[in-house]
């Protein structure tokens, strides 16, 4: 049995995915995860550090890392990049004033080698609020169409009503699964180069 086959078998047995929730502060990352988990969404404080949540989605186990997006925490995002299967980029669709910051942070993130190959799910959150930008406006503002390096999809959603949260995750899980579990061993090797990072 070749090494790649072994890696693939192990992956298959675990059926685990490592998901990174990122985005500017106030985007609604923590609230989305609480809502998905059926918890009360009121009284959430801004995240100082990170949270980990584990969900079962179909036959997959999602290990989700929700990292704080305040400016002082953004330099630490890189500590979480290793082995990431998908990035969920959460956008506050009401934050007209910072949409440019949001675009810059996203595009900077996508140049990271260690995130190469990860699927990108963009949540245009807070659609329940009057005056929110819709998904096509967000898509344009973030220049998503220029992204060639990652599979991506944008979903309008609301952490308050729960609209589209599961649908978005579902797309993401399928996208990752197609890449990790059904493809040939060759493309697996391409999607996840086994780099040794000594730094």
């Amino acid at each position: 049995m070749g090494l790649l086959t072994i890696i693939r078998k192990n992956r298959e047995k675990e059926r685990a995915m490592r998901i990174l929730f990122l985005g500017l502060d106030n985007a609604g990352k923590t609230t989305i995860l609480k809502k998905l988990n059926g918890e009360d969404v009121k009284g959430v404080s801004p995240t100082l550090g990170f949270n980990i949540k584990t969900f079962i989605h179909g036959k997959y186990t999602l290990n989700i890392w929700d990292v704080g997006g305040q400016k002082t925490l953004r330099p630490y995002w890189r500590n979480y990049f290793e082995q990431t299967d998908a990035i969920v980029w959460v956008v506050d669709s009401c934050d007209h004033l910072r949409i440019q910051d949001c675009k810059q942070e996203l595009h900077a993130l996508l140049t990271e080698d260690r995130l190469a190959g990860a699927s990108l799910l963009v949540f245009a959150n807070k659609q329940d609020i009057q005056g929110a930008m819709d998904d096509s406006q967000i898509s344009e503002a973030l220049d998503l169409r220029s992204i060639r390096t990652h599979h991506w999809k944008i979903w309008p959603c609301s952490a308050m009503t729960g609209d589209n949260l599961n649908e978005g995750l579902h797309w993401m899980v399928n996208d990752v699964a197609t890449r990790l579990y059904y493809n040939t061993t060759m493309s697996l090797a391409h999607a996840h180069p086994q780099t040794v990072d000594e730094s």
Partner: protein, 314 residues
């Protein structure tokens, strides 16, 4: 070349990263507990102190870039442990009552057009509401459009020497605008009096201002000399701020806008000072320095506004 130098270039990074990721894993698993065990938190803090010391010992023997990276990683771990410590403290219970039930769970069909020119006091439903580029004015709810938007977004940008009062004292009670998200930037010498927001408020770049607001979340960045009067159920956050004073949301405004009981307005998290020592960037406003008489009535004319402001902002 000394052996120890060799060790630092080849072995140290591995040993350091191994300890670091070990610690990170342990913090992660401690975090899964509803209330982390304080003893474990202390153990983790000690481990981190050791790691930090090993880095200090390696001083000058590592490439500058690496050393800085390791320093940042230590700082990140510190923040995580601090958060864990916070979570390990016994919790004070609070029950949050919603000001009004969300009656409409459908997603509104948003056909908003992007805001192109920054028009003063402009709003077209469902376009976003923007208050911007004003000076020496008293601004009240009557200056906002009366479209009766229920759960809406408000952006305030670029005000100087203004008094903004968006509580319902200046409008009929049956026509309350309920804000769900408020974004504020670039204010100088301005007093902002807001009602209970059914969501969060975000403020950037304020200088010499007074803010009164009730909200679920409060974040203020890059600001100086601001008095904040808050009713809040989560930790208020400041980042890159100095000379910020916090106090409770004034009773006089509460009568106009019923609020929830418990407030965490003094449980401030300063993201620019993630340590156990008190942050030098904020303090509680003393009883004799809080504002007692608020400018709730409309003031006309530039001089009137200036005079009122000089009594409120030093």
């Amino acid at each position: 070349m000394a052996d120890s130098d060799q060790w630092y270039t080849h072995e140290f990074p591995r040993v350091f990263q191994a300890s670091r990721s070990g610690l990170e894993g342990r913090i992660a698993s401690a975090k899964t507990a509803a209330q982390p065990n304080p003893n474990i938190v202390n153990e983790l803090a000690q481990e981190l102190a050791k790691l930090n010391k090993s880095l200090a010992d390696a001083n000058n023997k590592l490439p500058t870039y690496d050393q800085r990276q390791y320093g940042l990683q230590i700082k990140a771990l510190e923040a995580m442990i601090e958060e864990l410590r916070e979570a390990s403290k016994p919790k004070t219970k609070f029950a949050f009552r919603r000001a009004a039930p969300l009656e409409n769970s459908q997603r509104p069909s948003v056909v908003a057009t992007p805001v192109k020119d920054i028009a003063t006091l402009s709003s077209n439903k469902p376009q976003h509401t923007l208050l911007s580029s004003l000076s020496h004015r008293y601004i009240s709810l009557t200056d906002l459009p009366t479209s009766g938007q229920q759960f809406s977004e408000l952006a305030i940008s670029g005000l100087d020497h203004c008094i903004v009062n968006l509580t319902s004292s200046t409008r009929q009670n049956d026509d309350i605008i309920r804000f769900s998200a408020v974004h504020v930037e670039n204010l100088t010498h301005t007093v902002l009096i807001l009602p209970m927001i059914n969501g969060s408020i975000l403020l950037h770049n304020l200088t010499s201002c007074v803010i009164a607001v009730g909200c679920h979340q409060f974040r203020m960045h890059d600001s100086r000399q601001v008095q904040v009067y808050l009713s809040i159920t989560s930790h208020p956050v400041i980042e890159h701020c100095s000379e910020i004073g916090f106090a409770a949301y004034p009773d006089i405004l509460k009568q106009l806008q019923p609020m929830n009981g418990d407030s965490k307005h003094l449980a401030v998290h300063d993201f620019s000072h993630i340590r156990s020592s008190p942050s030098p960037h904020w303090s509680a406003l003393s009883n004799d320095s809080v504002i007692e008489s608020w400018p709730m009535e409309e003031i006309h004319g530039k001089e009137g506004v200036e005079e009122a402001l000089s009594a409120l902002i030093l």
